[in-house]
């Protein structure tokens, strides 16, 4: 049995430039498979990292001759749902060459919509319904048997004599510390590059879910809707285990900047305290970034100085909207003042700040978006990551946004293209306002000089900001002309 983890040729978010990151889902699943079923052979083909086009991909797959190919992501940052047409096309090309190879997809976007997507995608043999950690290894093990019992593999959608079926619900993996560390050694680590410039760049993923469950969040799409709001069942790797991973990445793979892609890293104060203690004790030099929530950062504001010493150079937290009514509707559970103070506290401690904010809520009109931008501009983070409402099936807000969806081409479902209109704005208006806001933010005298040149911000943060500044025109083309980048 030979399993291939395939990252087909793929672009990325326009604002991130030529950003080539490890697929953290593949790295984790490869590790699980290796530890739990060592008899299964594992291969990795990251076409994006190796700069391989489709022809080269097919040649390489023919040479590897796998029995099972897996494609999927844990992270929205790979390109939100714009990954889906890419994976479908890769599967189609592969099947044209070899009908017998089995293809499975899973993770982000697929996890909540497995049977629906499978019905529309004959190129896939399996889609994992919910969490991938155990299901993929079990599927591989089952397929290695002479007479596989597919219905016995929980959390799976599959074809049975022309019909799509689903297996039983797969309960969540309880203790993330029981998972092996991702199998970085199988991946071309030297090829990964952040924001077009940062070498020795690694993305990691140390927790699952988020206890806050914001209604717009696309993270929900990782999880089987038959569960009990599984997205909100927050599970973590312990601080010690996180630092084990940082240490491994620094000492063995030379990592200099680790971007922790957990949707909500700082839920628990003891984990942050533990991270500081362990990182300082082990004398790590690696710098890192994590995402969290403003109220948690403020709860831990007394830790920011030590966190900076322990390697945190940049963090992200969401604003999304600035009026109480919208914040309440989307269940953001923050205040704008908390976000503002977090920026101030981080800046005092030389920690770079990234704020996400959104446009495209059903009630958005031009005034609402301009007011939102004005407040964001006043808060003045180092990076403002604008996300346009992308109502993937599986997120709580989708039913109410569904009537406003006007763009069905998934290659544009990447946060950077308007795919919905609002009650008051056309899709074109929304794209125009997004392009305007992005340019306004990244051309403001004073801010530009701070984020590109100030020594108070770590070089890696400046390089990330540079990517946003450089891509303002390209972002506008995506937002207003539909140019595709993922």
């Amino acid at each position: 049995m030979k399993v291939l983890f395939l990252q087909p040729p793929l672009g990325g978010w326009v604002t991130w430039g030529r950003h080539i990151a490890i697929n953290v889902n593949h790295a984790q699943l490869a590790a699980n498979l290796r530890e739990w079923y060592p008899e299964i052979e594992i291969k990795v083909l990251d076409c994006r990292a190796l700069d391989m086009d489709e022809r080269k991909m097919i040649d390489a797959i023919n040479e590897i001759n796998p029995d099972l190919i897996y494609m999927g992501d844990a992270l929205q940052t790979t390109g939100v749902a714009a990954i889906a047409p890419r994976y479908k096309r890769a599967a189609s090309l592969i099947k044209q060459q070899n009908k017998d190879v089995k293809i499975c997809v899973g993770g982000f976007y697929y996890g909540a919509n497995a049977p629906q997507i499978l019905k529309e995608t004959k190129e896939f043999d399996f889609i994992i319904y919910g969490e991938t950690e155990v299901t993929l290894p079990e599927l591989a093990k089952e397929l290695s048997k002479k007479d596989p019992d597919i219905p016995s593999v929980k959390g799976l959608s599959y074809w049975d004599r022309g019909e799509v079926k689903v297996t039983a619900y797969r309960p969540l993996f309880k203790n993330l510390d029981d998972l092996p560390l991702p199998a970085y050694d199988l991946f071309p680590m030297e090829k990964y590059i952040g924001f077009g410039r940062i070498r020795n760049y690694v993305e990691t993923y140390h927790s699952r879910g988020c206890p806050n469950g914001c209604r717009f969040c696309v993270g929900w799409t990782n999880y089987d809707p038959r569960g009990n709001s599984d997205w909100t069942h927050y599970r973590i790797r312990s601080a010690k285990r996180v630092v084990d991973e940082l240490e491994l990445l620094e000492r063995k793979f030379g990592a200099k900047f680790v971007v922790m892609m957990d949707e909500d890293f700082n839920v628990y104060r003891p984990r942050i305290e533990g991270l500081i203690e362990e990182a300082l004790k082990r004398g790590l030099n690696v710098k890192y970034f994590f995402m969290g929530r403003a109220p948690y950062f403020l709860r831990d504001k007394d830790l920011l100085k030590e966190l900076r010493k322990a390697g945190l150079i940049q963090c992200l937290f969401g604003l999304e909207a600035v009026d109480e009514e919208t914040l309440k509707k989307i269940k953001k559970r923050i205040t704008v003042d908390e976000v503002e103070e977090t920026v101030i506290r981080c800046r005092e401690n030389k920690i770079g700040t990234v704020i996400t904010w959104m446009v495209g809520f059903p009630d958005d009109d031009e005034r609402a978006i301009k007011d939102r931008f004005e407040r964001l501009d006043q808060i003045d983070p180092d990076i403002a990551a604008l996300q346009m409402m992308t109502p993937l099936p599986g997120i709580p807000m989708t039913p109410e946004v569904e009537p406003y969806i006007e763009e069905r081409d998934l290659s544009k479902w990447d946060f950077q293209h308007p795919v919905v209109r609002t009650k008051y704005l056309t899709r074109e208006d929304l794209g125009r306002l997004a392009a305007w806001a992005n340019r306004e933010f990244y051309s403001k005298p004073g801010r530009i000089q701070r984020i590109l040149y100030s020594k108070n911000i770590h070089l890696f943060c400046r390089l990330a900001a540079r990517s946003y500044v450089e891509t303002v025109d390209a972002h506008a083309r995506a937002a207003t002309k539909g140019e595709v980048f993922v």
């Binding site: 051309s443 005298p445 004073g446 530009i448 000089q449 590109l452 540079r466 500044v469 450089e470 303002v472």
Partner: protein
């Protein structure tokens, strides 16, 4: 009828601000863009704000043993004239303008540097200071000193045309000033050099190219422009280090 020769002079303004002789450095850097001043202030040691009026602020600090004054002013010709006159009156001997310009040659790209050797006067301010035939000029020694710091194919020396009407840079006007030798266009250099010349001060205008009027390329928000702006500030201080002042 008005009895005084001039309603307000630069000296009046300085006095109103409790100015004392020696407050300003012998070298002054002026720029219309506040962010360039901020970048200068990051380099300057112990800057003290010693003039502030009408939205113009001058700071004086130290750099490599020299006292330097930096200040905003020079977005447009009238405010460039006002601030230039104030610093000249306040005792600044060497004036360096850090600005931007549009290029009037295809080979001068966004992020290149134009050093103005002279100005063509298309502004309305200098008519109040000099006669029609007057040609404002940068000081030769400063130009020569700058050539060892601002060097390479991305730096061009020549005449800059100053206009007050950004949105009336028509084909007829632009082709005429090109024929008269202009390689760049801005909104400040003419009054800046004119007033420095009248006060017999040493002056130089260093301009980063923000756009190109021949190719139509706009680079006002281009990262190459931002980077060049940053580099211009750093090199201006190297120039200050190199000159005898």
């Amino acid at each position: 009828m008005m009895k005084r020769d001039v309603h307000i002079t630069a000296r009046d303004l300085l006095n109103a601000m409790q100015f004392r002789e020696g407050d300003l450095g012998r070298i002054g850097i002026l720029s219309g863009q506040p962010q360039r001043i901020e970048m200068c202030l990051e380099i300057l040691g112990n800057p003290i704000k010693n003039f502030s009026a009408f939205g113009y602020t001058l700071w004086t600090g130290e750099y490599k043993g020299k006292r330097i004054t930096v200040g905003n002013g020079g977005m447009y010709a009238p405010d460039a004239a006002l601030v230039t006159e104030i610093v000249c009156e306040g005792g600044v001997d060497v004036l360096i303008r850090l600005g931007s310009c549009g290029a009037l040659r295809t080979y001068i790209d966004i992020d290149y540097v134009v050093i103005a050797e002279a100005a063509l006067r298309g502004d309305g301010v200098t008519n109040y200071y000099v006669n029609d035939g007057f040609v404002p000029r940068a000081e030769r020694e400063l130009i020569e000193a700058s050539s060892s710091i601002f060097d390479g194919k991305n730096v061009h020396y020549g005449t800059v045309w100053t206009t007050d009407a950004l949105l009336r840079e028509t084909k007829e006007i632009i082709n005429r000033v090109i024929k008269e030798g202009a390689i760049g266009v801005d909104m400040v250099t003419s009054p800046f050099l004119t007033i420095a010349n009248l006060y017999k001060r040493r002056a130089l205008a260093i301009l980063v190219v923000s756009d190109n009027l021949i190719t139509g390329e706009m680079g006002f928000f281009d990262i190459r422009f931002f980077d060049a702006e940053r580099e211009m500030v750093d090199k201006a201080f190297k120039l200050i280090e190199a000159i005898d002042a």
